[in-house]
Symmetry: none
Subunit: 154 residues, 2 copies
């Protein structure tokens, strides 16, 4: 199965183009995605990315709901905020201006692999986010040590 791993820092040029990391392209091809999907994250100032598969699943799921229900409308916002980008011959995509704005990208973007999907962050925002996550991990790690003494700590 295709997996997005590691973190890559690539440049966003004046035209809004970024190189998609080679390993991400390989993962996309493996799930037969001709392009990739991006949409603004609900939780963070970053973009969520994935292959075609996931969007089609979402579209199908919405279709299964009562067509005019509020629930369907909520989910539809994902679709209306999504963009489908095609990877050009050089392995790059063009980021729409509004998404660049949403994520605060300014010349550089970080591709963060999350397994079945990935995220796109502005470097500073990502570092802050990562620090916070590590901090939380460290604290919960302390809790774990208390629960299981004798385990190897950090």
């Amino acid at each position: 199965m295709a997996v997005f791993l590691s973190t890559f820092e690539n440049k966003v040029d004046g035209k809004g183009r970024v190189s998609v990391p080679a390993s991400f392209r390989a993962a996309l091809e493996q799930e037969k995605s001709t392009g990739l999907i991006l949409y603004p994250s609900f939780k963070h100032p970053c973009l969520e990315g994935c292959g075609d598969e996931r969007i089609e699943q979402i579209a199908d799921s919405i279709d299964a709901l009562d067509a005019f229900s509020e629930e369907a409308e909520n989910l539809q916002t994902i679709l209306s905020d999504s963009v489908r980008l095609t990877v050009d011959g050089d392995g790059r995509v063009m980021l729409p201006k509004d998404l660049i704005g949403f994520a605060g990208l300014n010349g550089t973007a970080m591709f963060v692999g999350l397994g079945k999907g990935f995220q796109l962050w502005a470097p500073d925002a990502f570092k802050a986010h990562r620090e916070a996550a590590r901090e939380r991990a460290r604290k919960s790690g302390a809790t774990l040590r208390i629960v299981k003494p004798g385990g190897g700590g950090e």
Copy 2:
């Protein structure tokens, strides 16, 4: 499968013409639609749009209902109010005046991708609607998880 994604803002000229977004045209062609279908939404001040395939599904669904029920009669108005528009050589359609009036279009129209179909909104009305929907979507994160169990993504 054809999927309508993203949101586009195009101009409606004095003749009532609008360019259909290129990616929407591609989706329509993919499902071999000779044109596109529009009908007034009965929930919102906007127009609902789709391709041939979708309208046939809707017709079938209505047909499956009890023929003389009130529900069936209500839904049948979708079909009687529908218009089929042909896309001209430049990728545009002509919006009938009554539909322009219904959606309150005034020089600009927003094409909103919703997966199997799409909507046409006046910009101001759409922005208000989108804000409300996003807010609800944010609060109903649990619902999103139900859509794709085992899937993830935050």
